[in-house]
């Protein structure tokens, strides 16, 4: 309803009611989003029978809570190793892909060079293809390289990201040419211009793309599942996905939930730290374009 005076619209009773309704809707939504997390945490702390008896926690007797699920997880499976593998793979791959993409994106945004148009065209064309089309040709290539069951098959192809190149190209366009020119006059090499002038300016994009790459690697399953064979080389999703297929874990909800929680917590923390950059970087292309 339009209020012609425009002055009384601050705190009428209908406005208060509206405000309460809005917050109520949000609260329901947030409950739906967060309850599975809470249920998951509760499930990891309950032993066998309590899992089936109590929906969340045995509130009347919290001494029944146990850490035995986590202990069993680490004793029965090489779970610590899988976590370490995932951390190593995600950290290495993220470092490589952020470095290469920011360097390449800088060149695409700030330099003219032969073949640039053709390169961008080829990049755009591959971006339209779903990654699964690479599985067969990629498998064959890895087989010919002798990289099956080695981390090279994950880290080396994982260092290239067309999406990352475009993200950084877009971000690097905001770097003022005058600043680069001033740097050149000061005697900076082109590599130092990238490191000392361009990178600090696109720092939010580095945060966003770091989180995106880390998430993608940490959560990756299909390609590692095809490439890695030894159980000791599994990453965390592979380890957990193979555990859930074992008959002895069919009823061991607590142990499986403990593994799931440990797979989620690191990225939730990372997201909490980098969320502003992440959201800005994620939506920048879509809203501007």
């Amino acid at each position: 309803m339009h209020d012609p005076s425009g002055l009384t619209s601050r705190s009428t009773p209908s406005d208060t009611a509206k405000s309460i309704a809005l917050h109520f809707a949000l609260l329901i939504g947030a409950t739906l989003a967060l309850t599975p997390f809470f249920w998951l945490i509760c499930a990891t702390l309950k032993s066998g029978e309590d899992l089936f008896t109590f929906t969340f926690l045995p509130w009347h007797d919290l001494s029944r809570l146990t850490t035995s699920n986590f202990k069993s997880l680490f004793q029965q499976q090489p779970f610590a190793l899988w976590m370490f593998n995932s951390l190593f793979l995600a950290a290495t791959q993220t470092t490589l892909v952020v470095t290469l993409s920011s360097l390449g994106g800088f060149a695409l945004a700030k330099y003219q060079f032969k073949g640039k148009k053709l390169l961008m065209l080829l990049m755009l064309a591959t971006m339209l293809l779903p990654g699964q089309v690479l599985l067969t040709g990629g498998y064959e290539l890895m087989y010919n390289f002798g990289w099956i069951n080695s981390y090279a098959s994950i880290l080396v192809p994982g260092a290239v990201s067309v999406f990352g190149m475009f993200l950084f190209r877009q971000a690097m366009q905001t770097v003022p040419d005058e600043l680069l020119q001033a740097g050149r006059v000061d005697g900076c090499s082109e590599l130092r211009l990238w490191w000392e002038i361009a990178l600090p300016i696109v720092r939010p994009m580095i945060g966003a793309f770091t989180l995106m790459s880390f998430l993608a690697s940490w959560n990756s399953f299909l390609w590692p599942q095809i490439m890695l064979q030894d159980e000791i080389k599994y990453n965390l999703p592979m380890g957990l996905a193979n555990m859930i297929q074992l008959p002895e874990y069919r009823q061991e909800y607590g142990i499986l939930m403990a593994g799931t929680l440990l797979g989620i917590i690191p990225v939730v923390i990372l997201f909490f730290i980098l969320q502003k950059d992440f959201i800005a970087g994620l939506t920048s292309g879509a809203v501007k374009g």
Binding site: L103, A241, T260, F272
Partner: protein, 313 residues
């Protein structure tokens, strides 16, 4: 940041190092993109080319390959399991978008309201689910949906007043709802973030002008908000379609490496995986991959065209 931009009072460099200096300036862009180009050609372009070639071969592992022409594609047309996978995948994608887009938009509209307090907290709450990887999501939901201890049946029991014993992962007709529930949990907040960014980019003055003209909230939504966020809406539908057609990990892990009851959880990528990497026929898998590409492109072109058509009318 107290940089001095005045020309440096340096003596001109000696000629030989001057040549080196111009050389590094000239070669820099090539050296910067060189690592990317090498990896791009070797690990993207070449595998794409090989997967086109492979799709015309019958193979048992990467070493035994026999040229069979377009037979893989012809067989695919008559392969009933493949079409079941297509039907499952398409139904999932369509239903997922039909729920995700409106719910995400409504949430974003609410969060964008000036009256809302603690916007950051709510935004974080809705969006955190997005960081949960597909495998973790699948393991979590295999427990949430379990008949006896699962949260969903417990919650339903509270509403209906008696214990509920629905076997969400065992009934063929419940496979699709189970997959939808799990993927909506991670995708609604993701969509909301995009719509929120789009809403904040809509020109505020348009609303003020509409207020002056006496337009009500509903007509403001149809005439200002919706046209304003249309690019993001199209983008959301497009990436939702692409992601939906690539569904694999969620059903694969949820149904313990299988396709679920009556293969209702079989998706196109799962079928590709089964042929290429469980049965070892890379050729047939490659053909499935290219048919998937054609389907995604066809749907994307259709969507963009229909969007353009509605824009012109």
């Amino acid at each position: 940041m107290n940089r001095d931009y005045s020309p440096a009072p340096l003596a001109p460099p000696p000629p030989s190092s001057h040549r080196l200096w111009t050389l590094q300036a000239r070669l820099a862009p090539y050296l910067f993109v060189l690592p990317f180009i090498l990896l791009f050609c070797l690990f993207l372009l070449y595998p794409i080319y090989r997967s086109i070639v492979l799709s015309f071969y019958k193979s048992a592992g990467p070493r035994k390959e026999v040229f069979i022409g377009p037979a893989n594609y012809l067989f695919l047309l008559k392969d009933q399991l493949f079409w079941l996978a297509v039907a499952n995948t398409a139904a999932f994608t369509l239903l997922c978008l039909l729920v995700q887009i409106p719910v995400s938009l409504i949430l974003a509209l609410i969060l964008n309201n000036k009256r809302v307090k603690l916007r950051g907290v709510f935004r974080f709450a809705f969006f955190t689910t997005h960081v949960v990887g597909s495998v973790f999501l699948a393991v979590l939901f295999s427990m949430l949906l379990s008949p006896r201890a699962g949260l969903l049946n417990r919650a339903l029991a509270v509403f209906v007043g008696h214990p509920v014993d629905i076997n969400w992962l065992g009934e063929p007709n419940l496979v699709l709802p189970a997959l939808l529930l799990a993927s909506l949990w991670v995708s609604v907040g993701f969509g909301m973030i995009y719509f929120l960014a789009a809403l904040q980019a809509v020109d505020k003055e348009l609303y003020e002008a509409a207020e002056v003209d006496g337009a009500n909230k509903w007509s403001q939504f149809w005439n200002i908000t919706l046209p304003g966020i249309k690019p993001v809406l199209i983008f959301m539908i497009l990436i939702g379609t692409i992601a939906g057609f690539q569904l694999f990990e969620l059903p694969y892990v949820l149904f313990q490496g299988g396709a679920g009851p009556k293969s209702r959880g079989l998706t196109i990528v799962m079928y590709l995986f089964q042929h290429g990497f469980e049965a070892g026929n890379l050729g047939y898998a490659a053909a499935i991959g290219w048919v998937l590409v054609l389907m995604i492109l066809a749907v994307a072109i259709l969507q963009i065209r229909s969007m353009r058509a509605t824009q012109e009318s």
